[in-house]
Amino acid sequence: MSHHLVEARGLTHVYEDGTIALKEVTFRITHGESVAIIGANGAGKSTLLMHLNGHLTPTRGEVRIGETPITKQTLPAIRRTVGLVFQDPDDQLFMPTVYDDVAFGPRNQGLPEAEVGRRVYEALERVGVWQVRAKPPYRLSGGEKKRVAIAGVLAMVPDILVMDEPTSGLDPHARRQLIGLLGEFRHTRIFTSHDLDMVLDVCPRTIVLFEGTVMADGPTGDIFADDALLSKCRLERPLAMQGCPVCGRGPD
């Protein structure tokens, strides 16, 4: 049995006010895959992410992590398996120091303090910010905050990494560095993003959501080459696949 599988079967979610956020969403993501979930605002991306970590309960259908369906009983195990990085690091970082924040997850797992220390060191080293461990999170730059937020999740040693808009709010250099980092991970990875160039760099596979349904699921290159699909879903080609705005030359 592998913990690294993520499967949605006929996942439907209707909010209390009657808004249908997801309609019969079905996909299967296997071990080590890096998958982007893209779509216009309101397409259902965030709702879908909330289901992968058990924050929402499906109106119909189910989500399975490995061979385990997400239920109230399996929730603690699911949350150990699936690490969710939030879009705004300020929502995730709330402990007084970076060290304590990254240690929050491992301590909740009930690990001995020596092991917690090792996990914190490894996670902060992995994302390259061990040197800021004693600082309060609110004193960090946007890029550092993002890295610490990722470290906080890595320290729980999840099999599956789920990230909501990993590159939003980062300057070009921090964004480029983060894309490099995301490419190095060997976890099963699921990203939502409007940064389609990042998707092109990091995710071989893309799922397109539109008004709560899966409009396409396939190799990223094919999806970004389908202009009719992109236009229907209120998306467009990544800049790297558009012609040069200065000389008009097409992409290589």
């Binding site: 939030f86 995730q92 709330f94 007084p96 797992q109 917690v116 906080g152």
Partner: protein, 271 residues
């Protein structure tokens, strides 16, 4: 000072939290020791009669000693403590109006019971605030909640307390953002009651949303209502000594008039 700066200063919880990560001998004590000492302190200092003034003064030794031993920033904490003073004065202000019985006379000026009880209320408010703020600065709020739970407080109550504190900080941050946005667009004009109501309502909703996201993020990292600070919880000899020492001191101050003795001793030495 702009309103934004005022709110930022008032709700500087983050710095208070950060102080608790220090590593003095006092910081290393089990949080239960600090909580117990603070509770005994508050009960002893608050249980004096309404006209008590002089016997309250030696109680200031406690917060001052803790600040000195733990190496906490005096000016920062003093500002935090001073916040309660206007509230205490507001509560005590009617006293001089209603209680006009003269209790003592200083150089021909009659001092009424009302003025003395007002002074007593102010001193007690300062003592209680000083003890509470010093407790948070040396222990950290999550550790205090954990200690209360281990001392028998029902867990749901302890968790509520933790979130109350956490979300108060969130509320402060949202308030700063909203105030900044208002000042940006010509906020010099006084707020009408209606606009004020709208702003407060918006603030509540925004805080609510953000609090929910923070809670989700905590759950995503395995939070189930347990407090784990990383410091080993051990109520050993240092803790017993710390608690016993301070409690004896407070009981002494409570049961005998130390100020009077000191005064008498000093006068005796002078004569």
């Amino acid at each position: 000072m702009s309103a934004t700066a005022a709110i930022t200063g008032l709700l500087d919880f983050r710095r208070l939290d950060l102080l608790a990560t220090g590593n003095s001998a006092l910081h290393r004590l089990d949080p239960r020791a600090h909580v117990t000492v603070t509770l005994v302190f508050v009960v002893c200092a608050m249980s004096f009669g309404r006209y008590t003034v002089a016997p309250l003064l030696p109680f200031f030794v406690f917060p001052i000693a803790v600040v000195a031993m733990a190496g906490l920033p005096v000016a920062f904490l003093a500002r935090k403590v001073a916040i309660v003073l206007p509230i205490a004065l507001l509560i005590g202000l009617p006293n001089p109006l209603f209680d006009r019985e003269s209790l003592l006379s200083l150089g021909g000026i009659e001092i009424t019971g009302g003025w003395i009880s007002l002074l007593s209320i102010a001193l007690r408010a300062l003592l209680a605030a000083a003890a509470a703020i010093v407790l948070v600065a040396v222990t950290g709020f999550p550790a205090i909640c954990g200690a209360l739970e281990r001392m028998g407080m029902p867990r749901p109550l302890a968790v509520q307390l933790l979130f109350l504190y956490r979300y108060l900080a969130v509320l402060g941050e949202e308030a700063v953002r909203m105030t900044a946005a208002r000042e940006q667009r010509g906020g010099d004009r006084p707020l009408s009651i209606r606009l004020y109501g709208t702003l407060v309502g918006r603030l509540l909703l925004r805080t609510w949303d953000r609090a929910e996201r923070i809670y989700l993020a905590m759950c995503a990292r395995g939070f189930t209502g347990d407090f784990r600070s990383g410091r080993a919880a051990r109520f050993g000899v240092p803790e017993v000594g710390y608690v016993a020492g301070w409690c004896l001191f407070f009981l002494l101050l409570r049961t005998s008039d130390v100020t009077h003795w000191l005064g008498a001793a000093v006068l005796g030495a002078v004569q």
